[in-house]
């Protein structure tokens, strides 16, 4: 299972745990997830940029047919959130009443377990988001 390789996970620690994106040295626009090439002008020079711990809900769904590795969480909520500058992320949403979710709800990140590599394997963590 390629997604359970420890190195595959820790390579993304800064982006996934600290919301580090990339800020263009040419336009000052910040991107999350980080990009290698700026779409509008092909710029490749960026600096690290930390996104805020707050984002607004754009759309969401409750997953009842999960892929391998997520069976124990069923059902779980996924959503697309938007930062202040318009950048968006896809994530899991937790500790909310699904039926009361509304577009524009404000969310903050919380550190949670994502999946584990079998009973004796590594437990992988990451950010999920919860309502303010």
């Amino acid at each position: 299972m390629h997604k359970k390789s420890p190195s595959k996970i820790w390579r993304k620690f800064k982006s996934r745990y600290l919301l580090i994106g990339s800020k263009s040295k040419k336009t000052d626009k910040a991107y999350y997830p980080p990009v290698f090439v700026e779409p509008e002008n092909s710029n490749t020079e960026f600096e690290a940029y930390r996104f805020e711990n707050e984002a607004k809900l754009i759309t969401w769904s409750e997953v009842n047919a999960p892929p391998a590795g997520f069976e124990d969480m069923k059902p779980y909520i996924v959503g697309i959130l938007e930062f202040k500058n318009g950048e968006r992320i896809t994530t899991q949403i937790v500790d909310v009443d699904y039926n009361k979710l509304q577009k524009g709800d404000v969310f903050i990140p919380t550190f949670r377990k994502y999946f584990e590599d079998g009973k004796d394997g590594i437990i992988h963590y990451g950010l999920k988001w919860t309502k303010v």
């Binding site: 997830p33 769904s61 409750e62 047919a65 892929p67 391998a68 969480m73 896809t90 990451g126």
Partner: protein, 380 residues
């Protein structure tokens, strides 16, 4: 300028084909497509194999070599992968190859064997068409991506659950007339609405099935037939849904259609019949809007109007679409082409549209809209 003719096509039965394997499905489609084209296998001078995830589902890679071996060919053979749009991407590759003069007879084979793994592994395999690091990592599935599109479309334009269901009802109705379809049973709006929720708001009957199957066509720059492939528009958008400017618009569809229409010098009103990508009911509604048959937000009403039924103004998904005909991913785009060729040549049997038709369009999406290919066929 060279012309590209479609000389023959064939589709295997689609479905959960427990007794069939990856190879024999592909060989059945390829051999029969060549026989229908009235040329010999040895006349094939290039082979394109469309497939999304054989290595995940069957453990097999090197698909060009695999099917060249099985068919006794030593011509160049390529594997084309563009997720669910692999079939149309392979047709486009063959189209460009023939136009270039590099080859004269191209065999395009689309094949997928998905039921050798269980459902959760099949779902995981399909997730590879999304952004693995920034979508699938978080447990996001394809149904949930389209569900998030559907929620926003419903919120913004008032598209109803019933209108979504009508896409599935129509496609199942058409599927009853296609003996090769995965499902040959009519369903009702009520049944769709009562079916289990896969990813809210999408239900099981809003969703295309996991299918096995293969389809093939033979295209030629020399041997003339009554069908030509006259345009192939291809466009990309961001891999991840969250990176789109507007998640209710598939920009790749708009651009692919514009490119195909520019090549063919056609307009929407010229298209007589089409097969569009209905991996989920909302995808068919987006297709009507982004292909320009109705304005944004009116796709639900368009389905409700009956215009896309067999006897409507623009009959759509007479094969049963992905929903009823099935969705063996790599085969889907080729099956769409086979259906359009059958319809334009009057060989579609019980589902034959009863009107004079000259132009047919196929619309094939990869992922949640990251790839779109629009191919246009003409009856000469």
């Amino acid at each position: 300028m060279k012309q590209v003719y479609v000389n023959g096509g064939y589709t295997t039965k689609f479905g959960e084909l427990w007794k069939r394997d990856f190879r024999d499905l592909g060989v059945e489609a390829a051999v029969n497509a060549v026989q229908n084209s009235k040329i010999n296998l040895q006349d094939i001078d290039v082979l394109y194999v469309a497939n999304m995830a054989a290595s995940h589902y069957t453990g097999q890679d090197h698909l060009g070599a695999l099917f060249a071996t099985e068919l006794g060919l030593d011509c160049p053979a390529f594997h084309i992968e563009a997720a669910c749009a692999s079939g149309s991407a392979a047709i486009r590759a063959g189209f460009l190859d023939l136009l270039s003069g590099s080859s004269e007879n191209a065999l395009i084979l689309g094949v997928e064997k998905m039921t050798d793994v269980n459902t959760k592994n099949a779902t995981e395999g399909l997730s590879g068409a999304s952004d693995e690091e920034w979508e699938a990592f978080y447990g996001v599935t394809f149904p949930s991506l389209y569900a998030m599109i559907a929620r926003e479309h419903m919120n913004r334009y008032g598209t109803s659950h019933e209108q979504l269901a009508m896409c599935s009802v129509k496609n199942h109705k058409h599927g009853t007339l296609n003996p090769d379809a995965h499902f040959q049973k009519e369903i009702t709006v009520e049944q769709v609405l009562r079916s289990p929720v896969v990813a809210d708001p999408l239900k099981l009957f809003d969703s295309s099935p996991i299918s096995d199957g293969a389809a093939a066509i033979v295209m030629s720059s020399k041997k003339k037939s009554e069908i030509r492939l006259i345009a192939s528009g291809h466009a990309q958008d961001s891999l991840a849904l969250h990176d789109r400017k507007d998640i209710t618009i598939l920009e790749a569809t708009i651009k692919a259609k514009e490119r195909a229409f520019k090549q063919s010098k056609l307009k929407n009103k010229d298209i007589d019949i089409m097969e569009v990508h209905d991996c989920f009911s909302i995808a068919e509604i987006l297709a009507y809007e982004d292909l320009g048959f109705v304005e944004k937000g009116k796709g639900g009403q368009f389905v409700e109007s009956g215009d896309t039924q067999m006897d409507g103004s623009i009959p759509t998904n007479l094969s049963g679409g992905l929903k009823a005909a099935g969705h063996p991913v790599g085969a889907t785009g080729v099956k769409q082409a086979v259906e359009i060729v059958k319809q334009l040549t009057g060989k579609a049997g019980k589902r034959q549209v009863q009107k004079d038709m000259k132009y047919g369009l196929t619309h094939n999406i990869g992922g949640s809209g990251a790839t779109c290919i629009v191919n246009i066929f003409e009856k000469i």
